[in-house]
Symmetry: C2
Subunit: 201 residues, 2 copies
């Protein structure tokens, strides 16, 4: 007698976990834009019906992976938030962002390359999660520039870390040809220190 | 008698110009990733054979459009390079970059979203053209930091304008929700001024 197919005996949590794992692995191997539903199904070993029992679409599985990636990045930031001195905390965040992007390049890219097809609660939650990450640099900036006000601080955090994001993006696209990682890290932290010192004037 | 089909009477220059125009318009309408060869052929009214008489692939037509976009951006930069004072010239370049990205968003995006399928002379030339744009901010930076040396100046130009690129990218993805263009421009030029002042220390 043939063994029973694995599919039907799995409960929703198990199906969910396997779909997320398969989606994540495909995103790492091929990039988020090349992930297809049929490949997720083949890789996870769940049936079409099982997948649609836990996710409304492939979009939802990808957004679940992106939410996981953001939580991981946040853990890295929390670890570096222990730096007492606000300038050193900002420099640590920039260095952390570069390290995370280098370590998890395809999943990090997916945070920016992927735009959900449909607007929904999940897409909105993901945007809120992403925006919340700016609170990490905002705290030391508020210490450094007490006169800036809450909105001004959040805006400066966005600007400074969009700048950090730009340097990291350009470096990962290897437009810094022939520049070592150490030199790049110096450039990045040099920019952050210069901007912070310059803003103080 | 039917008029002769337009295709066969056109010379290579004319075919080339029509293919480039069709490719450019499709890039503007749909984004570079959604441009298909069959649509370029339909839009330009040239035949498959005519297209392959002037371009080896769709890639080459897209790279030709990207080269055109870079030349246009360079014209904008040249115009702003007239600023005598080096800090003001750098601020003008940052403002110019934001204005260009806002005015020509899909073609500007194509410069970064598009990676040629095959490495060749054209791809290499395009990368050289793109790298050459950093010479614009490098000149005023060399005036401001005479001790930095040629390599150091070029590296700083890349870092500072990768940062500018980051702020512009994030803003165009509307992650600066609720921030006016004027406020964004202030943030961008504020960052450039702060970094320049901070580097001087």
């Amino acid at each position: 007698m043939q063994p029973m197919p694995r599919g039907p005996v799995r409960d929703a949590d198990e199906v969910r976990a396997e779909v997320v794992e398969a989606t994540e692995n495909l995103m790492i191997e091929r990039g988020v834009r090349a992930v297809r539903l049929r490949d997720v199904i083949a890789r996870s070993g769940v049936s079409n019906g099982q997948l649609y029992g836990v996710f409304a679409s492939l979009d939802e599985a990808i957004m679940t992976v992106n939410a996981k990636t953001l939580r991981r990045l946040e853990k890295w930031l929390v670890r570096d938030a222990a730096q007492a001195q606000p300038v050193e905390r900002l420099v640590a965040f920039a260095r952390c962002y570069l390290a995370f992007a280098r370590e998890e390049t395809p999943l990090w890219r997916a945070l920016f390359e992927y735009a959900p097809q449909e607007e929904g609660t999940m897409a909105a939650d993901l945007r809120t999660d992403q925006a919340r990450l700016f609170e990490y640099p905002a705290a030391p900036l508020a210490e450094l520039y007490p006169d800036l006000g809450a909105d001004g601080v959040l805006l400066r955090a966005r600007t400074l870390f969009s700048a950090v994001h730009g340097v990291v993006t350009v470096s990962l696209e290897s437009r810094y040809a022939g520049v070592s990682v150490e030199r790049l890290e110096e450039e990045l932290t040099g920019l952050v220190r210069a901007a912070i010192a310059g803003y103080l004037r």
